[in-house]
Amino acid sequence: MNDNYSIEISDLTKVFGSRIIFNKINFKRDTPGLAGIAGPNGSGKSTLVKVIAGLLTQSSGTIKHYLGGKEVHQNSVYSVVGFASPYVYLYDEFSALENLEISMKIRGLKPDQENFKALLDRFTLWPRRNDPVKAYSSGMKQRLKLIFSVIHSPGLIIWDEPTANLDSDGKHRVYELASELAKESIVVFATNEETEIGMCSEVINILDYKNNK
């Protein structure tokens, strides 16, 4: 489905004031799989994934997303990227199902009810599908955010702290879904959980990009 997506990051650098968050990251990938971004608290994992997803501008360097061999325009990056993290919030006043439907429509895509049901079921949210998100627990919200990030079949799926607020059952479901998705898409974990980094076939360690030349 998404085997024609690829990404190329060249000399990517981000500084906040005089603090170097990361310097000259190079990364290239044109095959599906699971990749990890590792580093301790405050090292710059979230900053890096935000830059990659086009949510934050880099200080220098380039990120190129390709779909079917063609470079994706900067303003369309949203359509090839799926992103979930504790700091991305869904709309509180809408139910789970409404959030998913609305996001598909705003993307210009047709809501796929069967897919919604399968994913909501998978994360045990189906019985609560019509409750407003503000009535969800933090773990339930995290589950919904993960669903939200994959319904448009993105080629690049970025999960920053994928298992934040999740119980062990939830974690298990996330890892299972991730390895399924990684057959067709590039899935990126930004995490400091050893087990999650251990699942990745390729790891970027932010600390390697602090004092490099």
Partner: protein, 219 residues
């Protein structure tokens, strides 16, 4: 059509939370009451009533229209929006929402106002209506852009009127002038300059908006 769905989302959300509608409604009622009280038994001139009409519109616009972006920023849903749409879709949707809000608000103000002030009589109604429509579009467009800018600043409350004043001033001066003419009942061609000014204002603001929004929207 993507921007239409964004507009629908905002409309639905507004109907559920009533963020902007409540602020606007309260503001309109309060401002008009204050004007009524301060006039008391005195007679106000026709000219003054036309000017006061736009004063009410200006302050009501200040109170409610910044919600479009500020509510996304406050609830932390800006990233979500960026993750599902391009800047033009966002601007288009928010613009449509604010324009609808401005029209509803101003029609409400106009009805309430003409019911309460006997001197508020417009002789050249078509000219006033044309100016009203162009003015509403102008207010909707500029308030959307200003809201987008201030949503990123930390001093949201105070910055909005400060930034709006210079941007909206030419629009309101023109609107007050043409309202005066419409009340006097001058023929259409005597209001041509004002109408042309309003049209240019709207066109310039839309063009500037779509050109500059990219820069405001992404950090």
């Amino acid at each position: 059509m993507k921007f239409y769905w964004l507009f629908r989302k905002d409309l639905q959300s507004e109907l559920r939370t009533r963020y902007a509608i409540n602020a606007l409604g309260m503001f309109i009622v309060v401002t008009i009451s204050v004007i009524l009280f301060s006039i008391g038994q005195e007679k106000i001139t026709q000219n003054l009533s036309g000017g006061l009409f736009w004063v009410v519109v200006f302050f009501s616009a200040m109170s409610g229209l910044s919600r479009a972006f500020v509510s996304e920023e406050e609830r932390g849903t800006v990233l979500t929006l960026q993750l599902m749409s391009d800047p033009n879709t966002v601007l288009g949707g928010k613009l449509l929402f604010n324009i609808v809000l401005v029209f509803s608000m101003n029609i409400f103000i106009a009805l309430l106002y003409s019911a309460l002030f006997d001197v508020f009589v417009i002789k050249n109604l078509p000219m006033f209506l044309l100016a009203f429509v162009l003015g509403n579009l102008g207010i909707g467009i500029s308030s959307t852009l200003i809201a987008a800018i201030i949503a990123k600043a930390n001093t949201k409350g105070t910055l909005y009127p400060v930034l709006s004043f210079p941007i909206l001033l030419p629009l309101f001066l023109t609107l007050i002038e043409i309202t005066k003419k419409a009340m006097e009942g001058v023929p259409f061609d005597e209001g041509f300059i004002e109408i042309a000014t309003l049209v240019s204002y709207d066109v310039v603001m839309v063009a500037a908006g779509f050109m500059l929004f990219d820069l405001v929207w992404k950090e």
